[in-house]
């Protein structure tokens, strides 16, 4: 147990000590929200035919729509890149210090996943700094609800990261695999634009993408779609459904949770079998 805490603690200490990374972590979300979001919002509204009209679609605000997606993206990126530390530890030798100690491989894997999850939650929470500038109203209760959701998502994605990193030896190869994975997952998750009227093959990818459900959870907490007019909700792509069944928040928790359990078990097994 103490071993798990030690592994976790090391990653958390290093996260807060790495100032450039901390500051740099705002760059991407900032660009997406301000440049991409604001730049696109006019076009988006026009496309929806809502810019000059009265009616429910007039309320469509693209930046507001994007905000939960940006939080999702931040949590996702941080969590999956936290596994980079596993590869770096192999490269810089520290992994051997860990592996020759009497802590079990399982504890090491769990400690790493928890470390990555914690860091991702912090990073996700830091994105709330943007709240006052984009006109989303966020209550304290919503923030409290957001934290466990972030943690669940971060846990699942960190486990996926560990699973990937356990079979890779170099930082370069890890970064390459992650880049190839990150963009389709991000673009086909509904984080950056509403997923309406897609070709069916794409729709299929969207539905098997764990990030889709993760992002939708953030949307449900932050945007409160049940209080929206149905037409607006539809336009914003908030009626995520599978086989004509609109997926509930609870079902999403279940999907992400089950995936997380599978990933963490697979990652732990994979990690335990790897030699120092």
């Amino acid at each position: 147990m103490e071993g798990i805490i030690a592994i976790w603690q090391r990653d958390v200490i290093k996260f807060f000590r790495d100032r450039p990374r901390l500051i740099g972590s705002f760059a991407m979300p900032f660009m997406f929200l301000i440049l991409f979001g604001s730049g696109m919002s006019g076009a988006m509204s026009a496309m929806l035919g809502g810019s000059n009209q009265a009616g429910p679609l007039a309320d469509f605000d693209f930046v507001e729509f994007m905000f939960p997606g940006i939080i999702g993206m931040t949590v996702f990126n941080t969590a999956i890149f936290s596994a980079l530390s596993v590869v770096q530890d192999k490269e810089f030798g520290y992994m051997r210090e860990i592996l020759v100690s009497p802590i079990s491989r399982v504890s090491i894997a769990i400690g790493k996943v928890l470390g990555g999850s914690t860091v991702a939650v912090f990073q996700g929470l830091m994105m709330l700094i943007f709240v006052p500038f984009i006109g989303v109203s966020l209550s304290f209760g919503m923030v409290l609800e957001l934290i466990p959701v972030m943690f669940l998502v971060a846990f699942t994605i960190s486990s996926l990261g560990l699973l990937i990193s356990s079979s890779l030896k170099t930082t370069q190869s890890f970064q390459m695999v992650i880049q190839v994975l990150i963009f389709p997952m991000l673009f086909l998750s509904g984080a950056l634009f509403p997923l309406n009227g897609m070709p069916s093959w794409m729709n299929f990818i969207v539905k098997i993408n764990p990030l889709t459900y993760s992002v939708d959870m953030f949307k449900k907490v932050i945007l409160q779609p049940e209080q929206m007019a149905p037409a607006l909700r539809q336009a914003m792509g908030l009626d995520l459904s599978i086989f004509n069944h609109v997926i509930t928040f609870l079902e999403e928790i279940l999907v992400v949770g089950v995936l997380g359990a599978i990933f963490v078990i697979a990652a732990t097994i994979k990690f335990s079998n790897s030699e120092a």
């Binding site: 200490i13 051997r96 020759v100 100690s101 079990s104």
Partner: protein
């Protein structure tokens, strides 16, 4: 004294390549045991098997009575390890590195402070406790690693080339610490080196070449097996001199890098008197010395253990292997 390390028939295959070809040895409690051999001899591979990092292909090893394959965790708790390449977290402070180690090894909370102070004192780093390791010199990092390796009071401390890449002064310092340690803690030390002078300090030395131990004894006995004295000469025409010496005195002459010819004779002082008188080629310098462990290696293999002459290939391989660990 009981045996703290017992190894028999230890082998390691990398695909078809046999890096370690059946090693047998025992180390007594409190001994300084040295593994001497050139680069690529299989020293690190052996140490990695002994310390449970890699799995032996064949054979058994026991440390502190525990089997290296079936009782890994008990072995791990009994040993301290200092690798050829640094395994410190350079972004953390010395104290944080040590504190994490305490936690990994389950050292009782109430003991940690005292232990950290103790090991930092041994390696003279007390005043750098709060510094980030990145700011340390190579020698300081090595010392910190040694300190960390001692924190959990291991029965056996493994050191893989503890002084490689350090300047002579720092090397001497590290050795001071190692000897201090042996005196103070009665700890068993198992180290590898390709420096002759370091092997001399060991209680016993195993000479390893191409994955096999070719000699194992105290440095004194090993050197006396070479016997006699070593003569080093430099002449106006080394090639001719080499031929002449080999013909006249029926001894094997080797040419060392600094243009010296070296050969062994039974009684050096008597030999020299006549040699200088009757030698036909002009002699520039002549020197008589006792055999060293290098001569032992030369005697056994016909080659020298070269110090600090890594070929480009070796360096490239080293870089590659690092990633595989």
């Amino acid at each position: 004294m009981p045996n703290i390390v017992e190894v028999s028939g230890l082998k390691k295959f990398y695909k078809n390549f046999e890096a370690v070809k059946g090693v047998d040895l025992t180390v007594k409690e409190g001994e300084i045991f040295g593994f001497l051999g050139p680069n690529g001899a299989g020293k690190s591979t052996t140490i990695n098997m002994l310390s449970t990092i890699i799995k032996p292909s064949d054979g058994t090893a026991k440390i502190n009575g525990y089997d290296n394959v079936t009782e890994k965790n008990k072995v791990r708790a009994s040993i301290g390890l200092i690798f050829q390449e640094s395994t410190l977290d350079e972004k953390l402070t010395a104290n944080e590195n040590l504190m994490l180690h305490c936690k990994f090894y389950g050292i009782d909370k109430s003991l940690r402070e005292e232990r950290i102070q103790e090991v930092l004192e041994i390696v003279d780093l007390t005043d750098r406790r709060k510094s980030i390791v990145e700011t340390f010199s190579g020698g300081m990092k090595r010392r910190l690693e040694i300190a960390r390796g001692l924190l959990h009071y291991p029965k056996v401390l493994f050191l893989d080339e503890p002084t490689v890449g350090l300047d002579p002064q720092t090397r001497a310092h590290i050795w001071e610490y190692i000897l201090k340690l042996k005196k103070k803690a009665g700890i068993t030390i198992f180290l590898t080196t390709h420096y002759m002078d370091e092997a001399e300090i060991c209680d016993r030395v195993a000479v390893i070449d191409h994955g096999k131990i070719i000699a194992l004894d105290t440095p004194e006995i090993l050197k006396s097996q070479v016997g006699g004295d070593m003569i080093e000469v430099s002449t106006g025409d080394n090639a001719a001199a080499k031929k002449l010496i080999e013909e006249r005195y029926e001894t094997e002459v080797t040419e060392s890098e600094n243009n010296h010819l070296a050969f062994r004779v039974d009684n050096g002082s008597e030999f020299l008197v006549d040699f200088v008188k009757e030698f036909d080629i002009p002699i520039k310098s002549v020197n008589l010395r006792r055999p060293t462990l290098n001569d032992v290696f030369l005697h056994l293999t016909g080659r020298e253990i070269r110090e600090e002459t890594l070929s480009k290939k070796d360096l490239a391989r080293k870089g590659m292997r690092r990633r595989f660990h």
